[in-house]
């Protein structure tokens, strides 16, 4: 895994050693988590305030306090238009950050993310297929796209996992399997687009761009519940995951059933990815960048790393949303384009930068 400077091991701490050092490290990590949460709060406020018309932060705060039943224009804009989009942005970014963080731990590879391993592409294919077929579940058309995205991304995760099983979970094989899955589902996506009528094609392309315009209270609740479930399932396993981050063999030596843990977490990653992308489309690089930033700040203790990757994902997507609104005034550029434009230089930096020693 890439050598990234751990902000918690400065020379003064190294020289010090000894009693209470762990408590001090923990305190510093808690402060970093709280500071990130504050930054998330600030970006949420700015994102709500920004749009085709600027609403002052004080008015945003008033509207939020007033509640959805308020009668002022700003209250209507905040509660009916902007808040669901911003909150969806937050939970989608959080889900991608958490899924990316888990994948990088499971595969011991800094380039692992739902996007680079094809899980997002698989979710995209499932969603495109649902849009093409017009299938609705129990009469609920909104459920078909996320469910198809989940089934498809679950199949992709299982394929990566099964290929890994044949080679004793060699992490290099798992990464290659992810690349195979990525190309396979991209080809299927293209096939669905080829078969689609112009109207459906427009929907699919719009979806594949990664766009927050269709975000709603429903998308926030569905993606939010999945993220919450993801955190509830993951957090009791943080120590087993921390053991896994110290190496497969060492985790086994510590009595961790690494095969079962990987299977559970792979399935969870596909659920998180599907929950994240099924309403707003494929958004790249958040799942790659957020875990990196988290690891640089708090190291690999998964109690701090996974929540921080989640917060960072939310923060980065909120920041991208702001950029998408501000880059061309009066126009909202699809957020997937913004995240990729920011993510590409970061990936290059990872590949050629001095931190990858």
């Amino acid at each position: 895994m890439a050598e990234v400077v751990n902000a918690l091991s400065p020379p003064e701490l190294r020289a010090e050693g000894g009693s209470g050092i762990y408590q001090r490290m923990q305190k510093k990590r808690v402060k970093i988590l709280l500071a990130t949460l504050l930054a998330v709060g600030a970006f949420v406020l700015f994102d709500i305030a920004t749009g085709s018309s600027w609403i002052g932060i004080d008015q945003v705060a008033e509207a939020l306090i007033e509640g959805p039943s308020g009668e002022s224009l700003s209250t209507t804009i905040v509660w009916q238009l902007r808040l669901p989009v911003t909150l969806t942005c937050l939970v989608v970014g959080g889900s991608l950050g958490l899924a990316g963080g888990l994948m990088q731990t499971l595969l011991a590879n800094p380039l692992a993310s739902p996007y680079t391993l094809g899980v997002s592409a698989a979710a995209g294919f499932g969603a495109a297929l649902a849009l093409l077929s017009g299938y609705s579940l129990f009469g609920l058309s909104w459920l078909a796209v996320p469910l198809a995205a989940f089934v498809s991304s679950g199949l992709a995760s299982m394929a990566i996992y099964m290929i890994g099983c044949t080679r004793n979970m060699d992490t290099k094989v798992l990464i290659l399997a992810g690349i195979v899955v990525l190309f396979f589902f991209q080809a299927l996506q293209s096939l669905v687009q080829y078969l689609a009528s112009p109207e459906v094609l427009q929907q699919i392309v719009f979806w594949l761009f990664g766009n927050l315009l269709k975000a709603s209270w429903l998308s926030f609740f569905v993606s939010g519940v999945i993220l919450l479930a993801g955190l509830v399932i993951t957090l009791p396993k943080v120590w087993a995951l921390t053991a896994l981050s110290s190496g497969e063999e060492r985790a086994q030596a510590l009595g961790i059933n690494t095969r079962r843990l990987r299977l559970q977490m792979f399935l969870l990653c596909s659920l998180l990815t599907a929950g994240a992308v099924s309403f707003v489309g494929t958004i790249g690089f958040i799942g790659l960048v957020a875990p990196h930033l988290a690891r640089m700040l708090v190291g690999e203790d998964q109690r701090f790393y996974l929540p921080l990757a989640t917060f960072m994902g939310g923060l980065l997507l909120c920041a991208s949303s702001l950029v998408a609104k501000l880059i061309v005034p009066g126009t909202i550029i699809p957020i997937g384009i913004v995240t990729s434009l920011v993510g590409v230089p970061f990936l290059l930096y990872l590949l050629v930068g001095k931190r990858l020693s």
Binding site: E3, R14, S19, T242, A243, S246
Partner: protein, 255 residues
Amino acid sequence: MTSLSIENLSVTVGRKPVLKKVDATFHGGEFSAILGPNGAGKTTLLKAMMGILPYKGSVLSRGKDGQVLSLKSFSYLCQLNKFSSQLTAIEMVLLGLVHQLSWNITSEQEQKAETALKDLGLTHLAARQFSQLSGGQQQLVLLAQALVSEPEVLLLDEPTSALDLKHQVQVLDLARKHTRTNNTITIAVLHDLSLAARYCEYLLLLDDGVVQHSGKPDDVLDSEKLSRIYQVHVDVGCCSHGHTHVTPVRPLDTE
């Protein structure tokens, strides 16, 4: 008394039988070593005991009161291999308590980790990233991890392979002290037969997945037996301090 009994244990990896009907019994308070040439099945035997590899036969360990011990009572120090982890040394040691840890690390758990590091003279490395340590330091940190949970069964795979002479003696002294103080069953895979003779009460000599000889060091470390198994002429003697030493002279096939 704590004991660990292995009966009829066989392990097949792929289609190759690596261990063939191994029988052995280890006792609490006894420092034992598994010896044998490369590929004899030593690591496989430890992994089977840890439940990491599937096996046929039985591995049964009982505590002082006769109760069956779970794998949570075991600690296993695996062979040193390169893995870049950003965990710090103290975090690596704390992972030895992985089955006891909850969200918050208690001061008692932190104290245990610090003591384990201190016992091996590693206090100054507590906040260093594990991957930035030298091979020998990593091996010592992993030994601290294995000892921190005060296991009833301690399995050590080549615990001295990356260590200098001073640290070899320090590590084996500590393992022996731990074995005697806590009545632990300690089983180490060792390649240095002189160290095995000096520190261990019971030796198991494996070759080609089969137990060739077992018993006290004086019975197992016989030049004829060792020559046949290691395919090398061996001198077995006694040093001025009264310790048995084993010196390889030349390979048999050079004659």
